[in-house]
Amino acid sequence: MMSAKILVYIDQVKGKVLPASWEAIGAAHTLADKLGGEVAALVLGAEAKPVAEQAFQYGVAAACYCDDPTLTDYRPEPYADVLVKVARDLGVELLLFPTTTRGREQAAMSSVELGSGVIPDVTGLEVVDGKVVATRPVYAGRLISKAVCEATPQVITTRVRAFKAPEADPTKTGAPAQVPAVRAEADIHTKVTGYSLAEGGVSLTDANAIVSGGRGVSNNPALTPPAGMDEKATEIWRAQEGFKLIGDVAATLKAAVGASRAAVDAGYVPYAHQVGQTGKLVAPDLYIACGISGAIQHQAGMRSSKVIVAINKDAEAPIFRLARYGVVGDLFEILPPLAAALRQRLGK
C-alpha cells in the first residue's frame, strides 16, 4: 500500500468536479513543500475513476477511487466509511477538503471517527514549528482567528476561492488505485429517491463576478404595473422587472446574480441568491451592489471581494465605505446604459 502525508478529498458528482477540490490540492502542495511527504487524492462515487485520473494532472503522487454501486448517490455514511478507512490505511497526517456541502460534512464525520478535530472553512494555512496553523474568519469575517488541531490527523476544509488551484498539466498521468466499499447496501439506512436540479446560471460561491440587488430594486417610479394586482403582487412584479436589469448586467459579465437579505425576505428572489451572514459568503473579483444599503450582515458576506462597485440613491449608504467605485444615482437609469457600455467594451 502506498503512503502519503496529505490526503485531499475531491468533491465530484458523476464526473463533474467542484473546482474548489483542485484548490484544496493547491493548498496541499504548499503544505507538503514545507512538511515533506506526498499528496494523495481520494475520489468517491459514480465516474470516480476518470476524475482520479484527472487528479494526476494537478500533481498528486497517488490517487484512489471507489465507484462501488453503494456510492452512486452521495450518502454521508458509506462515503465517510471509505474515507476513514483510506485515511487510516495510508497513515495520513493531514486531511484536506474543499468547503463544499459534502466536503464539510465528510470532514466533520471523519474527524470524530479518527479521534481528531476539524477546522472548517480556512482562508490561510502556514507551517509553524512543523505544525499546521490555519487562519479562518469567525463572526462572519468580522474577526480573524488562528486555529491549530492538536490531534492527528488534522482535518481541515479550505474555503472556496481562497487557495489557488495548480495549473492542470495533461502530461502528468498516473494509474489510480481502486479501493473497496466498506458498508454493504443492507447496512445503509438512507435511500435517495430523486433529484431536482438548481436553476441554471453561475453559482454564487464560484463566481468571478457578482451583480447583486437589494430592496431598492423594486422602487422604479417609471414603471406602470399591470392592472388588477394587489399591493404585494405589484411589489414583486416591480422587483422582478428590476432584477431583469441586474440579470442583464450579470449576463454581460458572465456573473452570478446575488441579493441582500431584505430582497430575499421580501420574496423578490429565492434564498439561494442571498449574500450575507445568513446567506452565502462570497469573495469574487468584482462585486456590483445595486440598491443595497450595506447592512453589517450583508457586508460580512461580501467584504472580501476584490473590487466593489456600489450604486445607490442614498449618498450616506454604508456600502459606499467598502466600495472602490460609487455612483449616487438611480439604478434603473444607470444599469441599462452600463450593460450596453460593458457589452460594447467586451466586444459582445
Binding site: R75, P76, R104, S116, G117, V138, Y139, L143, A323
Partner: protein, 256 residues
C-alpha cells in the same frame, strides 16, 4: 414523535465584534438564540404539529444560555435542558458533539435530533454531522423541506447542484437550512409560559461521561485588516455618461 433540538446562544448578529487585549468583545450587544437554530426549531415544531409528539430543546453553555432556551420554549418547545459544567469551558465542536450525543442517549427514545446549519459565532457548521457519526445515526444535512411518514423521515437536502430527496427510518440527525421557511415569533402565551419555566441543569456527572478532550486550539484572534479602499465617486451629466465612465473604470481594474 419525540424530537430534540440542539441550540446555541451567540452574540446578536448586529453586534460590533472587536478584539480588545486579546479578548473578543461585543460591547453591550445582547446574547441571543443563534439565528440558524430558529429554522431548526421551526422545522421541528412543524413536524410535531403534523404528527403529534414533544419537542425538547437542549443547549450546552453557561447560565445565561437559559434565556435562549426560554426563547425556544416561547416559540413552542415543550421542555428545555441546559448542560453546564465548568469542565466544558472552551469546549470545541467535537467535545460539544460528544456531550450532545450523551444527552441524546440519556433522553432516550428519540426519533430525531435537529440542529441549525451553523452558529454565527464560530461559523463551524460541523457539530450536527459529528454528533450523527458518534451516535451512528443517519445524517440528513441541510434539510430544505421535511416530513414524516410510516416511521420514516423524508427530506429534501440542499446541495450545490440542487436538491436530493432522501428517506430514512428514524432515528436520524437533521440539520436545517433556511429554505424551510421563516421561523415563527414567540407567542404572547408562549412568552408567559417560558418566563415561569424551571430549566433543569445537567452536568457531566449526571450524563455519566468524563470531560471530552478538546483538540482544536484558537491561539489568536485578531481584527481583520482594515479594508484599504479609496472610494472614487463617479459623476456625470447624464446616466449614459456615468455608465460609460464606470464601464471604463471596471475594465481598467482588469478583473474580468
Amino acid at each position: 414523535m419525540k424530537i430534540v433540538v440542539c441550540i446555541k446562544q451567540v452574540p446578536d448578529s448586529a453586534a460590533k465584534m472587536v478584539v480588545e487585549g486579546g479578548q473578543i468583545s461585543w460591547g453591550d450587544a445582547p446574547l441571543v438564540l443563534n439565528p440558524w437554530d430558529e429554522f431548526a426549531i421551526e422545522a421541528a415544531l412543524q413536524l410535531i404539529e403534523a404528527n403529534g409528539g414533544e419537542l425538547t430543546v437542549v443547549s450546552v453553555g453557561g447560565e445565561s444560555a437559559k434565556e435562549s432556551l426560554k426563547t425556544a420554549l416561547a416559540m413552542g418547545c415543550n421542555q428545555a435542558i441546559l448542560v453546564a459544567d465548568p469542565a466544558l469551558q472552551g469546549a470545541d465542536s467535537q467535545a460539544s458533539a460528544h456531550v450532545l450525543a450523551a444527552v441524546i442517549q440519556k433522553i432516550g427514545g428519540l426519533d430525531a435530533a435537529f440542529f441549525g446549519k451553523q452558529a454565527i459565532d464560530g461559523d463551524m457548521g460541523v457539530t450536527a454531522a459529528q454528533t450523527a457519526r458518534l451516535l451512528g445515526w443517519p445524517m440528513l444535512g441541510l434539510a430544505a423541506s421535511l416530513k414524516a411518514a410510516d416511521g420514516k423521515l423524508l427530506v429534501e437536502k440542499a446541495f450545490e447542484e440542487g436538491r436530493q430527496s432522501v428517506e430514512c427510518p428514524t432515528p436520524a440527525v437533521v440539520s436545517v437550512s433556511k429554505d424551510i421557511g421563516e421561523p415563527r415569533y414567540p407567542s404572547f402565551m408562549g412568552i408567559r409560559k417560558a418566563s415561569r419555566a424551571t430549566i433543569p441543569v445537567w452536568n457531566l456527572a449526571e450524563l455519566g461521561i468524563a470531560a471530552p478532550v478538546s483538540v482544536v486550539r484558537w491561539p489568536e484572534v485578531t481584527n481583520p485588516p482594515a479594508r484599504e479602499v479609496k472610494t472614487e465617486m463617479i459623476t456625470g451629466g447624464s446616466a449614459q455618461e456615468i455608465a460609460e465612465k464606470l464601464a471604463d473604470k471596471i475594465l481598467e481594474e482588469k478583473v474580468l
